[in-house]
Chain length 147, copies 2
């Protein structure tokens, strides 16, 4: 790759790795006509649907406008449907359609395969260690933002 990459700041390395990962996911998901971020929302909904947009935003760590626009895309593709909440006339409950459920089942193993592929060279202990560091950094950032 590039010999200088390791000399970058952690911030630069995280950003560049994120962008590369997004590119890879985009490539692999292209034939299913879904983007990485749309997939991440679809995946959440496959874990639990019937929740409102605010809940989805929290679970995907996106803000509400971003979540709304991604849901609009998914709705246009008939992967989800919005139903009016019976208890709150401001809110919609979001459900996967059959097409959405089917696609989620199809994509889950693809995502898992990609994650295994990008982790080649690390054993499970190293992966856990790496994830713990990412968690620590995330928590540090959260503390800094909420001050």
């Amino acid at each position: 790759m590039k010999s200088y990459f390791i000399h970058e700041s952690i911030g630069v390395m995280i950003a560049q790795t994120y962008r590369k990962l997004n590119q890879l996911l985009f490539l692999r998901l292209k034939e299913y006509e879904i983007t990485p971020e749309q997939w991440s929302v679809l995946y959440r909904l496959s874990q639990k649907d019937g929740i409102n947009q605010r809940e989805i935003a929290i679970r995907t760590s996106k803000d509400q406008p971003t979540t709304k626009r991604i849901l609009d895309c998914l709705q246009k593709k008939n992967l989800i449907e919005k139903k009016m909440s019976p208890s709150d006339r401001r809110a919609f409950l979001i459900y996967l359609t059959d097409k959405g459920k089917h696609l989620a089942q199809q994509l889950l193993p693809i995502e898992q395969k990609i994650m295994a592929e990008i982790s080649v060279g690390m054993d499970q202990a190293e992966i856990n260690q790496f994830k713990n560091k990412l968690l620590l950094i995330s928590e540090n950032i959260n503390t800094l933002i909420n001050d």
Copy 2:
């Protein structure tokens, strides 16, 4: 933070950490009227300017259209200037203005402080280990993309 974060895939964790970091940088850089990505380009140029847009794109791991638009923003703020390349009439050479040089000097310690703050709880050995894992993942992704 969120107890479930650690149970996410590496991909989700990298993406969410990246977005949070970007938010933090945005907050801290706001008073200087520069965005995180604009800063990353300005920083590169403070290391070496007088290079063309393609070179900048490579060094910042962005594509040329993205680089061009970020440079346009920097130019609008009088932080850089484009000069026609004497050897290639297609290309521009990008130089920091005095204002740009001054701002880069001002922001460098801020960036370093943020990187130290987000690394709280890790010693230097752990930071290096973490960076090596990021590098490994990046290289894995590069291999996967270029197949």
